[in-house]
């Protein structure tokens, strides 16, 4: 039973990772406008990868999982059936950032000629690699712990098989990212992106171990952990995009800052969604989401435990709608809103030093969009 509820929670979280569009209409518009600037649509997941024997093999096998509860099914569904909504935000930001920074500062540089709509091929490859890594971890996040699986949940064999497919396809995407990185011919960039992979692992590891004692995060560790699991990859990819065009450390640092603050703002925005929706909609949220973490800090551990008990229904399960009501009575939500605009503004600030351009405006629009509800 516990497993069942956790699984549905994971499933939901999964979907929210893939489709987390803060205030969908606004965000989607900003992003689709931005896509036009970078030359071609955001199907970065390289065709080479999707058309490979390996992934079509997985696709064939994943069909066997239909009717089971393995999370891989949802992740795969996200790519295939909803590619329209599955906005590959990270790759897009890397491309916009590349374009906003412009050509290499030393004009005699022979790499100049290779630019296509203001972006170097190596930067396009990097954008693709960033998406590959992100997707690999979407898949690896969905590995199921077999010990927690009880027979009443369905055959164990299905879960073993689903795990096998998830490990292999995640590894395949990561391996392609590795060979792609090597082809960039810049060992500093390889090191930077490899360290981002390590960051993502640490972030996700934290996620999966604290979910057992959900609600143990402090505010400081929320920021650290969100940076690792959500921000590091984009921040370091943006930085690497500057490195590939041989921009100096200052531009690299600004690009890093933009990527970092944009993702933190974006995460806060999606964490806040259940709290800004109308009261009548049923609420589901993680006890590690930002507004809850703020709230817990305000009320202290004792009152928080009391409130959790208060929000329990007859079956001793948390009634999230009720809990949301309790949380909204304090300042946790408004503090999270403040933090969201802080990060949005920090992202805007980082863009100020770049010369005005369509790409810069698009990045600014994205930074603004994460602060709107």
């Amino acid at each position: 039973m516990a497993w069942r509820s956790r699984l549905s929670y994971i499933g939901r979280r999964h979907l929210s990772i893939i489709f987390s569009n803060p205030s969908p209409s606004n965000w989607t518009k900003v992003v689709s406008d931005a896509e036009k600037i970078v030359g071609y649509p955001t199907s970065f997941m390289s065709l080479r990868c999707l058309l490979s024997d390996e992934l079509s093999n997985v696709a064939m096998h994943v069909r066997k999982l239909v009717g089971t509860k393995h999370p891989l099914l949802n992740t795969a569904r996200g790519f295939v059936f909803d590619s329209r909504n599955n906005i590959q935000m990270r790759g897009l930001v890397v491309l916009l950032m590349s374009k906003a920074a412009g050509p290499s500062p030393s004009t005699s540089d022979p790499i100049h000629d290779s630019m296509i709509s203001g972006i170097y091929p190596s930067q396009r490859n990097l954008a693709e690699i960033t998406e590959l890594i992100h997707t690999a971890f979407l898949v690896h996040r969905g590995i199921v712990n077999l010990k927690e699986w009880s027979n009443s949940d369905g055959p164990l064999k299905d879960m073993q098989f689903g795990n096998k497919m998830a490990v292999l396809s995640g590894d395949f995407l990561l391996a392609n990212a590795c060979t792609g990185l090597a082809q960039l011919n810049d060992t500093k960039v390889v090191e930077l992106i490899s360290s981002a992979i390590g960051d993502v692992v640490q972030g996700i590891y934290h996620e999966s171990s604290s979910s057992a004692e959900e609600g143990s995060l402090t505010l400081a560790s929320w920021e650290d952990q969100t940076f690792l699991s959500h921000g590091a990859l984009l921040a370091k990819s943006c930085q690497a995009a500057m490195k590939l065009a041989r921009h100096g450390t200052e531009a690299q640092n600004l690009a890093f800052q933009y990527g970092k603050h944009l993702t933190l703002g974006h995460k806060l925005n999606s964490d806040l969604q259940p709290f800004v929706k109308s009261e009548s909609e049923p609420a589901v949220f993680s006890l590690d989401s930002a507004p809850v973490v703020f709230h817990r800090q305000i009320v202290g551990p004792e009152r928080w435990r009391h409130q959790l008990k208060q929000a329990q229904n007859m079956a001793r399960q948390i009634d999230y709608t009720k809990l949301r009501g309790l949380i909204k009575m304090e300042r946790g939500v408004s503090q999270a809103l403040d933090l969201c605009s802080y990060h949005g503004n920090k992202a805007l600030e980082a863009m100020k030093c770049f010369p005005p351009s369509d790409a810069r405006s698009a990045l600014e629009n994205m930074a603004c969009a994460v602060t709107k509800f």
Binding site: N57, H140, L146, G198
Partner: protein
């Protein structure tokens, strides 16, 4: 065909495929072999397929002759006699020992994690109890190449890094393999997935890989980064190949050897190549290092596949017939199938019906599948020796030659 061991193969078509894989013959040499042995040119399509794998070889002298010569010089004993009494054969290990003293400590230093539990998972297999087989080969190859390039006595720090990285990549792939195969034990310990669950095991593997990739990048050599990134791709592709079985016998052999290359030999071959690149710019030296590693790597895995049938459970650190239980048809089964076609159906259904594993086991023991796989492993070793002998003589080079004997005799 003049080569005596080839008589052991019942299907000469199968043998031709295997042969080609052994030696990486040039296209001309291959056609020559095929027509000499069978008088047909029907294999040309097959040749084309085969030659897309592995690099092209530019060897001037006809290989057939070379093979004859070396067959005489280095005859290798059969499998399954204990080696522990023979002190001389331990040499390769003790020779590399000094360079590998702090290997595991250094690896642990690369695994920078703030969270204690994740750190414990990442360090778990770097407990100093592994054989460090890969780092040993890499170190010996590095020193052999250094002598060959007139740079005696110095092991470059970057070369030692490669030894470390090879062990890290190997371990990361073990951690993931254990989840894929749902294994409980490895090297006599519980697996990470048994102790901490599948989810964390996968993340630990990913982390070790990212740390290896960082260490690799820090060497600062683009070619070396490319060479070892190829390994990571090969490992996954090899694992994918293991999912499928081929209907046709020739295809099946080719598939098996290609899988073996990708899953085991690529890491050794490319690590050897990387250390040679670091000291010598001559592509021919890189090719020698690569070919030695490739042939030793395939032989190593063939012996492993034999031991799955001949070793008792506790020796190998995993239960015997483990491959059959996983549905995998390895060398001994494929050879046995030529003698007992009854195995074909079982291979195709991946030994999934009740009693398949036992029946297949019996067939393999009744056949000379084990013996033939051993001949094949010997052959790969001979080719490895032939390659490494092209380097200037050195203690390390000779240790690499002796290592092949040691490997064929290992019983665990």
């Amino acid at each position: 065909m003049a080569v005596p061991w080839s008589l052991c193969w019942r299907s000469s078509a199968g043998a031709a495929v295997v042969l080609d894989w052994c030696c990486g013959l040039s296209r001309r040499a291959f056609t020559h072999t095929a027509s000499a042995s069978r008088g047909t040119a029907s294999s040309s399509a097959l040749t084309q397929v085969l030659f897309r794998q592995g690099p092209v070889h530019n060897l001037n002298k006809p290989m057939i002759l070379a093979r004859h010569r070396f067959r005489c010089l280095y005859s290798t004993p059969r499998v399954c006699c204990s080696i522990h009494s023979d002190a001389k054969l331990k040499d390769p290990f003790s020779l590399a020992q000094k360079d590998l003293q702090d290997l595991y400590e250094d690896i642990k230093k690369q695994l920078l994690v703030s969270k204690a539990e994740l750190k414990a998972l990442c360090d778990y297999y770097f407990d100093g109890k592994g054989k460090a087989f890969r780092p040993m080969i890499v170190i010996l190859m590095a020193r052999a190449c250094n002598v060959h390039s007139n740079k005696e006595g110095v092991l470059l720090p970057a070369q030692r890094s490669i030894a470390m990285i090879s062990e890290m990549i190997h371990t990361a792939s073990l951690v993931h393999d254990d989840v894929i195969d749902d294994s409980d034990t490895r090297r006599g310990k519980n697996t990470i997935n048994k102790l901490w669950g599948e989810k964390k095991a996968i993340l630990a593997g990913d982390f070790i890989l990212s740390a290896a990739s960082m260490a690799l990048a820090r060497i600062g050599n683009n070619t070396v980064v490319s060479v070892l990134s190829q390994v990571i791709e090969d490992l996954v592709r090899g694992e994918f190949m293991q999912l499928g079985s081929k209907e046709n016998e020739n295809e099946r052999f080719k598939h098996y050897l290609e899988k073996t290359f990708k899953k085991t030999a690529s890491l050794i071959a490319n690590s050897c190549k990387a250390v040679s690149i670091l000291v010598n710019s001559d592509p021919e030296v890189h090719e020698i290092a690569y070919q030695y590693g490739r042939n030793v790597g395939i032989a190593f895995q063939l012996v492993d596949d034999i031991l799955d049938f001949t070793s008792c459970a506790n020796r190998l650190g995993k239960p015997s017939a483990a491959d059959l239980k996983l549905g995998l048809a390895t060398g001994p089964v494929l050879f046995a199938c030529q003698q007992f076609p009854e195995l074909h159906a079982m291979i195709m259904r991946r030994f999934s019906t009740d009693g398949d594993v036992d029946r297949a086991w019996q067939y393999v023991l009744k056949s000379d599948g084990v013996e033939q796989t051993n001949y094949l492993a010997q052959h790969y070793c001979q080719e490895a020796i032939r390659q490494i002998s092209r380097l200037r003589p050195s203690t390390e080079r000779d240790a690499l030659i002796r290592l092949t004997e040691l490997m064929l005799r290992r019983d665990k």
